[in-house]
């Protein structure tokens, strides 16, 4: 794979999968704090 494709892959996968995991984690955190309340 070319360096450009690798950088692009890291950026695209990072934004999409990273975004999904970030929002999922935030939801888990909020859910736990709501339960604790």
């Amino acid at each position: 794979m070319s360096a450009g494709a690798i950088i692009s892959m890291i950026f695209i996968v990072g934004v999409v999968v990273g975004g999904f995991l970030y929002f999922l984690r935030l939801a888990m955190k909020n859910e736990q704090s709501k339960k604790a309340d």
Partner: protein, 500 residues
């Protein structure tokens, strides 16, 4: 009528939203486009997730959550008496898709059966697909031709898919939809990971990733890629379908609109990326050369999924296992999207005073009757895919119009901000929604001017070309019937679904 059913917890609605969004399109359309256009397409596709899909999904989610009715009732409650027919059009449009989508689920079952038989033959040492292909290279094309037109087995399998969906939905939201998605979605992600690992370990597998992620900047000046990225995001996330409106009508009282919408949108895109990373390396590794791999990707959704992929998988050791896993994942994706489509109709019928069981039975009968022409004729299937696929853009536009009529700022304050932990800027919501009106018009114009039909409006004899598969006349006529019918019974719809 106010619903009393609701998801047991946040994860119930998150999984249902993911199940709705992740469908056949993630596996048979996205990898095709990503392989052809690469990173330029992916960047635009991510952009349109934020511009088109998320704002519309947010609006839909909040409307369903607020009014807790089916699409006609919820839409009519926010639009007011004059525009209740908009909810009717969205319902007709999504039902039009559900009828032929049940056939896609039936095909998925058919190929899962073929893959299981192939796996059994591989284990027992009898005749596998590879042996059939050695004797007759057109074996899979013949098989596909056999099931896509006038096939009783397709009819039986699509009916089976509808009955299985209705059987689950009769059990209710928590015991049916929620439990099904708890199995389907994690399993689907798991299966995609397995295919990815196998594909990437094939020789030349990484070439597929090069094609998928390398950015060719000259693609940005090609309008086709912009439109394909927009339409892929619009269709794949389910924005404008009324499905998330139906799902959110079963949400708990204090459900987070913004965060759940972002999870659904980004989750759908994650599944698409996984499907691309799973399928493209296999296509590039197993094709004779890169030119052939690219030509495979240009062959269309049905050809890629039902003839090329099984053919490619049959050429490797253990391909029978890979083929089985792929079609199991394809069936799960299709089935998880069929469920909310059926539920959309059930929810509307429940608003008319029917019990869930009675509404579900009527939905089954309706789907079986109106799905039959698509199961029997591939031309009819393609026509419905064309008409209601583009119709979804009108549905999205209708949702935008009700938000604009209500007032964007007031809508955000009354519908979205209540119970949302994550705050989206008003500027983002208002700019994207206004911009989407332009996008919708451009998209509809572009799709209708693509020239798939030789006679888009009138045939050679000068007659209105309504019976052509891809004609604009067919599209406009069917939309007009749905719109006129909705407007004609608007008062009835308002009294029955909104006022009561």
């Amino acid at each position: 009528m106010t619903k009393t059913e609701e998801f047991s917890n946040r994860w119930g609605i998150v999984l249902a939203s993911l199940g709705m969004a992740i469908g056949a399109g993630n596996l048979w359309r996205f990898p095709r486009l990503a392989g052809q256009y690469g990173g330029a397409f992916l960047i635009l596709w991510i952009g349109f997730l934020l511009i088109w899909s998320i704002p519309i999904l947010m609006a839909e989610f909040s409307i369903g959550k607020k009014f807790k009715k089916g699409v006609i009732g919820s839409f009519g409650s926010v639009s007011g008496k004059g525009l209740t027919w908009g909810g009717f059009f969205i319902t007709v449009c999504t039902l039009g898709i559900a009828f032929y989508y049940a056939v896609v689920t039936g095909w998925a079952l058919q190929y899962l059966g073929l893959a299981s038989q192939n796996l059994f033959s591989f284990i027992t040492g009898s005749k596998t697909i590879a042996v059939h292909l050695a004797e007759d290279p057109t074996y899979l094309e013949t098989y596909w031709d056999g099931i896509s037109n006038g096939s009783m087995s397709t009819v039986i399998l699509y009916i089976l898919a509808v009955i299985a969906g209705i059987y689950l939905l009769i059990k209710g939201i928590q015991n049916g939809l929620e439990k099904a998605n708890k199995v389907l979605i994690p399993s689907l992600f798991g299966l995609l990971i397995v295919i990815t690992v196998i594909s990437l370990n094939m020789e030349n597998g990484f070439k597929g990733l090069e094609y998928m992620f390398a950015i060719d900047t000259k693609h940005f000046s090609n309008p086709t890629i912009w439109i394909e990225a927009l339409s892929q995001s619009a269709w794949s996330t389910g924005a404008g379908w009324g499905l998330i409106m139906t799902i959110s009508s079963y949400s708990r009282k204090k459900e987070d609109v913004v965060l759940n919408t972002f999870i659904s949108g980004f989750g759908n895109n994650t599944a698409s990326i996984m499907a691309g990373v799973a399928i493209l390396p296999a296509v590039f590794a197993l094709a004779a050369n890169e030119g052939e791999a690219v030509s495979f990707l240009q062959s269309g959704n049905q050809a890629l999924t039902f003839t090329i992929i099984p053919k490619l998988f049959s050429t490797i050791t253990g391909g029978a296992i890979l083929s089985f896993i792929f079609f199991l994942a394809f069936f799960m994706a299709a089935f998880s999207s069929l469920l909310p489509m059926l539920e959309l109709f059930i929810a509307n019928l429940k608003d008319m005073g029917l019990t869930r069981k009675s509404a579900a039975m009527r939905t089954a009968i309706f789907c079986i009757i109106f799905g039959f022409p698509s199961a029997w004729s591939l031309n009819f299937f393609n026509n419905q895919d064309w008409v209601w696929g583009i119709g979804l853009i009108i549905s999205g536009l209708l949702i935008i119009i009700v938000v604009l009529r209500y007032g964007i700022s007031k809508f955000k304050k009354d519908f979205i901000d209540t119970d949302s932990d994550l705050d989206v800027p008003l500027k983002y919501f208002s700019i994207t929604l206004c911009f989407n009106v332009v996008l919708a018009v451009v998209l509809i114009y572009w799709w209708m001017s693509r020239g798939y039909s030789e006679n888009p409006w009138f045939d050679a004899n000068g007659n209105w070309n309504v019976f052509d598969v891809y004609s604009n006349a067919s599209v406009v006529t069917q939309w007009a019937i749905a719109l006129i019918a909705g407007i004609a019974i608007n008062k009835y719809l308002y009294n029955k679904f909104v006022k009561s």
